[in-house]
Symmetry: D3
Amino acid sequence: MADIITFGEIMLRLKPEGYLRFFQNDRMEATFGGGEANVAVSLANFGLDVEFVTKLPAHEIGTAAVRCLDYFGVGTEHIARGGQRVGIYYLETGASQRPSKVIYDRAGSAIAEATGEDFDWDDIFRGAKWFHFTGITPALSADAAEICQEACEKAKAHGLTVSCDLNFRKKLWTSEEAEKTMGRLMEYVDVCIANEEDAEQVFGIKAENTDVTGGKLDHRGYCSVAKQLIERFGLSHAAITLRTSLSASDNQWAAMISDGTQYLFSREYPVRIVDRVGGGDSFSAGLIYGLRQNMELGKALEFAVAASCLKHSIEGDFNRVSVEEVERLMEGDGSGRVQR
Amino acid sequence: MADIITFGEIMLRLKPEGYLRFFQNDRMEATFGGGEANVAVSLANFGLDVEFVTKLPAHEIGTAAVRCLDYFGVGTEHIARGGQRVGIYYLETGASQRPSKVIYDRAGSAIAEATGEDFDWDDIFRGAKWFHFTGITPALSADAAEICQEACEKAKAHGLTVSCDLNFRKKLWTSEEAEKTMGRLMEYVDVCIANEEDAEQVFGIKAENTDVTGGKLDHRGYCSVAKQLIERFGLSHAAITLRTSLSASDNQWAAMISDGTQYLFSREYPVRIVDRVGGGDSFSAGLIYGLRQNMELGKALEFAVAASCLKHSIEGDFNRVSVEEVERLMEGDGSGRVQR
Amino acid sequence: MADIITFGEIMLRLKPEGYLRFFQNDRMEATFGGGEANVAVSLANFGLDVEFVTKLPAHEIGTAAVRCLDYFGVGTEHIARGGQRVGIYYLETGASQRPSKVIYDRAGSAIAEATGEDFDWDDIFRGAKWFHFTGITPALSADAAEICQEACEKAKAHGLTVSCDLNFRKKLWTSEEAEKTMGRLMEYVDVCIANEEDAEQVFGIKAENTDVTGGKLDHRGYCSVAKQLIERFGLSHAAITLRTSLSASDNQWAAMISDGTQYLFSREYPVRIVDRVGGGDSFSAGLIYGLRQNMELGKALEFAVAASCLKHSIEGDFNRVSVEEVERLMEGDGSGRVQR
Amino acid sequence: MADIITFGEIMLRLKPEGYLRFFQNDRMEATFGGGEANVAVSLANFGLDVEFVTKLPAHEIGTAAVRCLDYFGVGTEHIARGGQRVGIYYLETGASQRPSKVIYDRAGSAIAEATGEDFDWDDIFRGAKWFHFTGITPALSADAAEICQEACEKAKAHGLTVSCDLNFRKKLWTSEEAEKTMGRLMEYVDVCIANEEDAEQVFGIKAENTDVTGGKLDHRGYCSVAKQLIERFGLSHAAITLRTSLSASDNQWAAMISDGTQYLFSREYPVRIVDRVGGGDSFSAGLIYGLRQNMELGKALEFAVAASCLKHSIEGDFNRVSVEEVERLMEGDGSGRVQR
Amino acid sequence: MADIITFGEIMLRLKPEGYLRFFQNDRMEATFGGGEANVAVSLANFGLDVEFVTKLPAHEIGTAAVRCLDYFGVGTEHIARGGQRVGIYYLETGASQRPSKVIYDRAGSAIAEATGEDFDWDDIFRGAKWFHFTGITPALSADAAEICQEACEKAKAHGLTVSCDLNFRKKLWTSEEAEKTMGRLMEYVDVCIANEEDAEQVFGIKAENTDVTGGKLDHRGYCSVAKQLIERFGLSHAAITLRTSLSASDNQWAAMISDGTQYLFSREYPVRIVDRVGGGDSFSAGLIYGLRQNMELGKALEFAVAASCLKHSIEGDFNRVSVEEVERLMEGDGSGRVQR
Amino acid sequence: MADIITFGEIMLRLKPEGYLRFFQNDRMEATFGGGEANVAVSLANFGLDVEFVTKLPAHEIGTAAVRCLDYFGVGTEHIARGGQRVGIYYLETGASQRPSKVIYDRAGSAIAEATGEDFDWDDIFRGAKWFHFTGITPALSADAAEICQEACEKAKAHGLTVSCDLNFRKKLWTSEEAEKTMGRLMEYVDVCIANEEDAEQVFGIKAENTDVTGGKLDHRGYCSVAKQLIERFGLSHAAITLRTSLSASDNQWAAMISDGTQYLFSREYPVRIVDRVGGGDSFSAGLIYGLRQNMELGKALEFAVAASCLKHSIEGDFNRVSVEEVERLMEGDGSGRVQR
């Protein structure tokens, strides 16, 4: 009986060592990750009681995925076991002008082929307070979209707050398909997290006067996007992450949030990147933590940005940081001095 | 225009380091292998002109599979490019009483979803002399079985010798399905390679009085199997590999062959195992080499057994040995003395 | 509220890669292990509900030790957090005539400096059925011995079965000290596990006519040891592991058990060793599993021996095998044939 | 019958892992590289038909060098086999103010001891369009210089375009020796590639008012160098790479080119360095590709600079990038955003 | 009979690979380091005759620590052998806003439990010219403080110059304890090295108007600190290292020195950090080298800063650079151009 | 002023990881080794005062070779520095029927090109008692042979005992050349070590009725070889190592020795091989130790055989074992039981 439930796919992540290109040598780092699992692990690291729901095969590869969640104390008791395969993504880490590259091999995964019968949402949501999913899960398959729909309905019925990271994946569906499905799901959502590309690609909501590659961010544009999201879907909050990509090695990282009344922009961090995959998920986790702990809106935003800033310095999908570490950064110590 | 053509699936092989169990740490050895590709690489290492035909996705993972064949000089020009994924197998290396374990994740691979239009067999077989496939390929999908059928027909039309390693995989199909499909394909086969389990599982042909785990091999039983195979399918040769598994670390390794007249048994090697996956394929390659070089039957058999004996000492699916190395072992030097 | 409770020390295990001697290069494998933790992990892998009790520092090294247990689903909620350090043992893996070597650096560890107040045994044992510890724990410190005493008393008060692996460690205490403390604790023990060295070193109980390095085992001697143990301490069962060390690479492995009436000897396995540390613990876990599942005595013994036979093929302290794998070996398949 | 031929030495490259100093631990990355081989691999990765000519020993180390070229589809059929050794270079990767360090161990290599009889240039150049070599090859030995001379003569006789990267190596010869030999070879060269140090060290041609360590580049100086090169040797094109070394970790990277009429300077890239060895070679390959594809001069220059900019983010001598990746950077996307 | 003697603790340094967090995988880099040992190794690398004095256990872990010093030619003949354990520190390397983290496990180490009888300072100092220790050593235990006291007395009696790096460690003692003990030891010290935090934390000596995290350094403040140190303790020299931490990845690095008359500030280096642990020790070593070689004060300062600047680019505690490399950087070449 | 001097070549040893074939992946283990250096390190590990004499380049690769000797406390002060390169040998570790393979790349090494002026033997031998070299050193070059000659003369002049391991290397010279040169050097030799192949290949001295690959050893044959060696060269002792190669993984290992009167054969050890390179050298070191410690002949022989038996379980050329470890094996404990 966890406090927070996240639902989605956890994949095997295969990455060559360091900055090597795919198959440049004969080794792969083999870890696990995926949007909603990343959020769950991050929340567990913040000390919250969180459970991740998915479906995984009964064989050893599926068990390894479950165990990597157990390791962090994420609840796994409602993970359905069955199906044929664990989805995979191949990741190559970029540097300087060379971008990171992701190749998905997730078709036919256990969760993509799951059906409504695999999950008893009444049981899952008993005693829970918050439900989180991303726009990736309903894109996996028609069944997955339906399960999301049911989960959202049940979540509301049980009185949970629902958060969703739009996370548009063009390899999984078109903007038209996304808009149709996500539009329906957004009716249940309280807190929407996005970057301005997501908002445009899924709902055609644009941030005007903004150029994400050029390094200039126009605050007004993002206020407009947040406002449109809140109004269109009756959200309590809309949050937008603001990444300025100087190169694959250096980014600026910030975010904004609105509750329809306030439009707050966070401090911006210059980030030397170790691994930026999972950066958005760590923001979602930070925000859920902040809101769940009833932080003031601005503080919740700063917590989320500081948490996800730190994620960029950590290998793997998961944000392995504590509340204490995030708070130290929020309090202004980004000096990186050795802690003895 | 290669001399020998092999056709089948090449997979990504993901193996934990050393004797670690699946996901015992966060690294995987990531190499490639698969029955017919293994045969092709081995033949290329023997100096023959050989080509491997398959279908692989156009992305970097597919390209890596092609390049690992180019590395050995195996012809890759008729590899169709397209489809979604490269098949995968997870391998855990056993030791002592703990068996090695293989988990397949090959459904939906490019070759399993290939169609007849992907391959122009007249072009592929132009100038070729030998065609080799295994019982795995037709088991991949109905389409794959059909492509095998067409390839066999064309091979005979072009006057090629056809060899087939029965290689029954119970995860891919039932004995009934196998018998039906393989029975039809065997009409085109000249040289059949099997272990006595294959012969029984596919065709119900039994070696009597033989107990493969107990370490006792009954020569008469194998003669009977070979005889039945030759007679039932009009083969020129039937060869049977004879593995006595003392443990995952120690095996006895030998083989027998018949041309319907002679029934020859090879020398038996006590093998300290480094990696036994691909052992059967290296036998096939050795036998094709021997027959293609017109060795006497007994010598061809000994070449094949010595080649595959050496394979057990080599990491990975591929048999990385030269003709000279095989011959040195055939000539009786299995002492393993350092060569300076 | 676990079914089985184990109590003791979990240490950081630092081992050079492969067969390298200490500091032969600049890497160490850094995992965790320790007698009672090993038993707990093994039982969790068998699907039982088990909890491990210890004390670990609040810092990241202590947390990593907790997480490695969470990974396997071992309960960790009664682990006291505090103290200064995680105990360490350095391990060098031997081969052929060169023995493995262990250097302990465990003085001052959190559990060695724990006090009775760190553990609420009434809470820990609520609903539990079995308590296991080894002769290492009371040897850690006077406080640790006292905590063991209290735990044993409470265990009996709560109606638990108590098992103890004698596990004499001459670096921690003398035979005299051991006899005094263990003698007192044995009053609460139902199931005693030992090798004949332990029995002699702790209690002066000798197996006559037996030479463990020479490779000859005299069954009568072991019966005598078991009988003496049972009679002296009023045990329900005494079990003795029988290791014949041919070399650091090859052992024979078996065991015997008695309930005072029957004296049963198991099948003996020839073991090609990957990692023998934790071999005894995996036997204890197998035996606890067998007895807890109400297997017949002989079957419980065979289960324990087969489980621990497999442990020798697995890297690390923990026995990463399933009930199904143990049963397959018990049923006679030690051939190590690849499982596809 | 390749379109482009490159000729020179391929060496074993031994590099400690990461930023370790020589022999700081007991591992070396063992790959292959060398100026002209690097150009060949890069061109093969761009999809061109290219062959590399050299001499390598018949043993396994020589074969490994051949295979690493086969891997990329570089033609290797005219590689002479014989001689005693594969040349070696030891590389230590610098960071911040600590420079990378190269120690050569190439004396006595097969190619340094090759003679004219090892290569049949009429056969090699049949059907070819372009010949590339660098100033390293003639510096290897008197024989190597003679072979270069013969190759150049034959290349012109067969109507090939000849390109040369001056690449002065002070460990191999003096400026005087270089000027004498290179001056003679330049008569056959159409496209000369250099940095301003090369031009000065080999031919005493100076770029005035330029300070390469201070970070200031004077465009006029480079125009003057290019002009002098073109006029002195009757070149069709002279190209100069412009590296501003801020530190071992950060460089600015650009280039200029002239055809005697136009003097074009490329965009300048700020480069976060992963591995800068082979940077110049990747520029040569980019330029040959651009010119061979008949790009406009400015576009060919930008292609070459973008290609070599990307090289700095890739481990090893070889530039593992595709035309598509180079074009994406040329089109302005150096943001390094993840490509999913 | 070495020229320079350093005295203190050498620890086992356990660090996860690259930027991994503690126990993110199952490997640790296992090397050795510690303030005074680092100084000794650096001086040996500069070609001086130096000896390190400590106490280490007689077992293999202790021997490995001795051998890592022998490797660099540091004298080890007066290292006392005995005691129970080698002290350990766990290190996690930070990046960007995430700080590096150190966890000490050094209580009960051989040197912390050493007594005066372990060292014969008359013998150790025979023929020596310089004695160096840091504020860590007397903080290890009361015995260690007493041994320091005796060593300082004997050093003065033998006419040695004594240098001390204040190096306050709040995990080992309080400011009050430090002031009491260090105040007494400073009577023997000629050259004091500190950062302004040390001076304040140990002696309450403050640098006014200075903000080390903000990136602004106020020269006057440091002059004031140096002046106070010199006057209070009658020093010949006081040197202060000046680190501006922009992040865990980027620092500015400089230093100042005074002999009571001159107040000199060095060039400041922008440092891209590979490993900053041992940075201060490498400054001490550089300064001792410069003063011992009778460089002018300003040159000695620049040597020390350049040496320690280079240290930040090198993995491990030890500064693996030569005098020639330091001088090249002092002469202005921080361009990091490849040295061939 | 060492007690024992060894003279020869130390090479860089490049070995793929584990059982990989050459360049099967992109890593090499990079350590150092060579006959006489191996003997020196082994003797230092036994606690003797030993020095190794050679010539090595002044660059970092040469320095690394020196430091790996300093690490073990082997004296290096008479190592001449200069020349171009460090000799290399590539090693591939065999298994089962696949032999280990060595490829030498040692031509042109500093020691092969050394001259008499590089070594001042009067200085080197001052105070020394024993000189050891092998048949490899004089085979390196004519100069090297002359230096050996001079060293031998001086050794006798200084009253040293001289030992020589015949160590015939057919890649370096012919039997004719070897006989001529070695015959001359043997005049100075007191203790000759060989296997029966060496004796035959260098001096035509045969062991009759012996088949080293077949596993049968005829004691009388070896007595005859020893006798002939002693008589022909006036030796004090001749020792012959007796290796029965069952496979690359399993050998039998023993030796015999004679002083012209006694003919003693050692215990024979069944060896599970980790790394057999350096096995002969570790025997030489063991024998020198035994004789130098004035052990009885039989005990010296057993010490040498036990020491070299252990070497086969250790990675790398060097025998990293202590006198205590050898003695424990001599005393009969080859059981490989864990030492805690």
